[in-house]
């Protein structure tokens, strides 16, 4: 482990009493270990950030703290007292309040009704409503949490709805406030207002836990930060003593280097050309801010970056299914021909016909139909292929034969084509998807997170197949948050940050520190950072320790 590893325990202010202390918390969902032996200490009156990739186990950990799940093992101490949090009610009683990523508000209720729900003072509503009205007025004055108490939730902006959630927690006299990805739905101005509110709460002695995958927020507002990766707490440090780059590196992780034996690439003509690709989603947020790159035949282009910086959108656009309601501009050319960005010619089937294979980021949602059999899944996307059809009927026997062949060649276990996709392990599910896409011999293969939740053996296998495809003169676009994977597999590396390409590196030249900087939105090669950093992210340069 890197620099953060040796600070893993006990570093943040041990002097202050802990509002929350977790000892050895573990939680598994079936075979998935969501939390592994987690220790966490949150000092009273501090803002504590918990950062990690999607699926790192942050939300699970907080749900345990709020009584939604029972941990398999471990101990929870609130204000030094060991506590069993059996349900949300006991969490509330212990003074823990939670603001969920998806608000738990009743849309057609007024603010007041939402605030008193569950903590009414008696059987009749009138006295409770009157009391809550007074308390809300006081809270509004104290923390700048202004919301019209008689407005219904559906009339409020998301920023205001979030305030209602905070008010709900404060009305329940929460001393410890957990916010799960609070800025995901907010505009920058709303986010700034939220941070002002949080600072006000901290000044009043409240403890705040902020879950996020955005480095900017962590650096801006937290006192201490803990990093989670793959269900484990990998580091806890003082925010002032770390940097965005170090955190990015910790989040993404560097596991034992998997060496992929491969010959140097012999790139040919460009297969994919992307020019000035911009995308604005249906909420008006600019997700891609002018992306341009080429991929040549016989090379693997790796795109590194912390998730949520536009990689998903890029893959979706290239795959032919851009997010609904988004507006696109720019150009994509495949083998010299323009591909449409919208309209009838822009769909996944058409892209496949043109020779673009796609191993999507989330195999369980986009790659497979979990309740369908392996052989049916092998045909998906290519079910119009002549060899799968006989007249206007599907030739199920042919599909089965083909599926069994693919399962054999890709060593999918158990080798039972009639088994539902759900019943295979993550690695074997992924092999089914990889087999389907690679064996079609596409000119360009799009790959998103090929080895997420996949065991080591399958990772090696999948990597080998990707390299084989490259050696056969095909172009590969590899998007991964695993820096290792990118470093060992890619022939060229682009780093994405906030919808832009921050820089390009060659794998044998790049260091993780260098890439970590790019992933945090800082270009270390630039001598005058003011020019390189977009105005919206200028704060990054104010970070302590960053100049080092």
């Amino acid at each position: 482990m890197t620099a953060g590893g040796d600070t893993a325990e006990g570093r943040p202010e041990t002097a202050a009493p802990a509002a929350i202390e977790l000892r050895g918390i573990s939680k598994a969902f079936g075979p998935v270990q969501a939390n592994k032996d987690i220790d966490l200490r949150v000092p009273k009156g501090s803002i504590h950030g918990i950062i990690g990739e999607n699926g790192a186990g942050k939300s699970t950990l907080m749900s345990i703290l709020y009584g939604f799940y029972k941990p398999d093992a471990g101990e929870i101490l609130v204000n030094g007292q060991p506590l069993t949090i059996a349900d949300s009610q006991s969490a509330i009683r212990a003074g823990i309040g939670m603001v969920f990523q998806h608000f738990k508000l009743v849309q057609n209720f007024t603010v007041l009704e939402n605030v008193i729900l569950g903590v009414e003072d008696g059987r009749l509503l009138r006295p409770s409503l009157a009391k809550a009205r007074g308390v809300l007025k006081q809270l509004a004055a104290e923390y700048g949490l202004n919301v019209d108490p008689d407005e219904t939730i559906e009339e409020l902006s998301v920023g205001h709805q979030q305030r209602v959630e905070i008010l709900k927690a404060l009305y329940r006299q929460a001393d410890i406030l957990i916010l799960d990805e609070p800025t995901g739905v907010l505009t920058p101005a709303e986010a700034d207002h939220l941070f002002r509110i949080l600072r006000g709460l901290k000044a009043e002695g409240k403890t705040i836990i902020l879950i996020t995958h955005k480095l900017r927020e962590i650096m801006e507002i937290t006192d201490n930060v803990s990093v989670m990766r793959r269900g484990e707490m990998v580091a806890s440090v003082r925010t002032a003593e770390t940097s965005a780059e170090q955190l990015a590196e910790l989040m993404v992780g560097r596991k034992v280097l998997l060496n992929v034996a491969k010959a140097p690439a012999r790139p040919g003509a460009p297969v994919l050309e992307v020019r000035e690709l911009k995308m604005v989603d249906d909420e008006g947020v600019e997700r891609l801010r002018g992306i341009g790159f080429d991929i040549r035949a016989g090379e693997i282009l790796g795109i590194a970056g912390v998730s949520g910086n536009g990689q998903t959108q890029l893959l979706e656009i290239l795959g032919g299914y851009p997010e609904k309601g988004s507006t696109l501009s720019g150009a994509i050319r495949l083998n010299g021909r323009d591909l449409p960005l919208s309209g009838g010619g822009c769909n996944a089937a058409e892209r496949r016909r043109q020779g673009i294979g796609h191993i999507p980021e989330d195999r369980q949602v986009e790659g497979l139909i979990m309740d369908f059999t392996a052989w049916e899944n092998v045909a998906f996307g290519y079910h119009h292929a002549p060899e799968y059809n006989r007249g206007w009927l599907m030739d199920n026997a042919a599909i089965r034969d083909d599926a069994e062949g693919k399962m054999e060649r890709f060593d999918v276990r158990p080798r039972d084509a009639a088994l539902a996709a759900r019943n295979f392990s993550g690695g074997n599910q992924q092999k089914i998807v990889v087999a389907r896409e690679i064996e079609r011999n596409p000119d360009l293969l799009l790959i998103g997170q090929p080895t997420r939740g996949v065991d080591i053996g399958a990772i090696e296998f999948i990597h080998k197949r990707i390299v084989e495809l490259r050696d056969a003169g095909k172009a590969v676009l590899l998007v991964s948050v695993e820096l290792d994977e990118i470093m060992s597999l890619a022939d060229r590396i682009l780093v994405m940050f906030d919808g832009r390409i921050m820089g390009e590196r060659l794998p044998h030249q790049a260091t993780t520190g260098d890439l970590g900087c790019l992933m945090a939105g800082v270009d270390p090669a630039t001598t005058a950072p003011e020019d390189a950093i977009p105005p919206a992210h200028k704060h990054v340069e104010e970070l302590p320790g960053e100049s080092a």
């Binding site: 969902f29 949300s88 738990k104 009743v106 009704e113 729900l117 569950g118 059987r123």
Partner: protein, 321 residues
């Protein structure tokens, strides 16, 4: 059409709307809590049968009423188990309850009484008597107010008054009490109730219990108030008409009163004028009798403006990760 006729039709409408109103309010509690219930019909039918049977056996309409409520609540419990505890499909559970009630009432009726699915006619204390309100006789001859009071308002069975009192009571419970707030919340967003530390399951069971109770009253009224005994399929789709009225009323109690009155009135007019003579054309009785059902179709097809059902309706609650 003279004044006396109008009063008579309205009086008839009141009697005919009572089971609809009770069933409609029953559905209101259930659906407001997020449990769709197309089994109102079956519950009413079961209640009508058990009420008539027990009333005949004991000679007491009151014991019949209790049996009716028990029969209906038993089916409510089945619905609760399948749709709340076991998170089954609420529509399928409701359909099953309708079939079960339809078959079971006839089977048991035939087995016990041997009258082809009917129960023997109820007489005397086996039926609910009509209640004469005070001064009804004395005021009868006062012009206008007299007939309205004596004919329209007075002279109904106890269940009619209960049904009408349930309207303001339901309104008060829904919008003025803690239970009502939580009930409405659980039908809109059960996660909000769950995260507030209140049991979604318990709230929904409470709601369907009230639903069972009210359906029981409706069924008992059909068999021991409106008629004198149980007849095969005697609910004749009233459970579905009540559902249509519930949508028409947009899940609000006072509107439910208005909607069910409309249905009751149509039925009363059809009964009074089997062949409505409009001078040029005569509307045949079949059409008149079909009117409530035609109105139901129109309402369900959404011709009466947008009705937004409780947002969490029909969905079993599963905690998300």
């Amino acid at each position: 059409m003279d004044f006396a006729t109008v009063i008579q039709i309205l009086d008839s409408a009141v009697r005919l709307m009572t089971p609809l109103l009770l069933a409609c309010l029953a559905g209101l509690y259930s659906e407001r809590s997020g449990v769709f219930d197309i089994g109102l019909e079956g519950k009413m039918l079961m209640a009508a049968f058990t009420a008539a049977s027990v009333a005949y056996a004991t000679g007491s309409a009151w014991l019949g009423l209790i049996a009716g409520v028990a029969g209906s609540m038993a089916l409510s419990l089945v619905h609760g188990l399948s749709s709340i505890t076991f998170r089954g499909n609420q529509l399928i559970s409701g359909v099953a309850i309708n079939f079960l009630a339809s078959g079971l009432t006839v089977l048991l009726g035939q087995k016990i009484f041997g009258l082809g699915g009917r129960t023997p006619s109820l007489t005397g204390a086996g039926r609910f008597p009509e209640i004469q309100l005070p001064f009804a006789a004395a005021l009868r001859d006062v012009p206008v107010i007299g007939p309205i009071y004596a004919e329209l308002i007075s002279g109904h069975t106890i269940l009619v008054y209960v049904a009408f009192l349930m309207v303001p009571l339901t309104w008060w419970v829904l919008f003025r009490t803690r239970f009502g707030l939580r009930l409405r919340a659980v039908g809109e967003n059960p996660a909000s109730v769950d995260t507030a530390g209140v049991s979604v399951t318990r709230l929904r069971y409470a709601a369907i219990a009230i639903c069972g109770l009210l359906c029981g009253l409706a069924g008992a009224y059909l068999a021991t108030g409106l008629s004198a005994g149980f007849v095969k399929e005697m609910t004749a789709g009233r459970g579905f008409i009540a559902l249509a009225a519930l949508i028409f009323a947009k899940w609000r109690p006072w509107s439910a009163l208005g909607a069910t009155f409309l249905f009751g009135l149509l039925e009363a007019i059809a009964n009074r004028y089997p062949n409505l003579d409009l001078g040029i054309v005569t509307i045949p009785s079949m059409f008149m009798n079909a009117l409530p059902y035609i109105l139901t179709v129109i309402i369900l097809a959404g011709f009466v403006g947008r009705a937004i059902p409780p947002r969490a309706g029909g969905e079993p609650y599963v905690k998300e990760r």
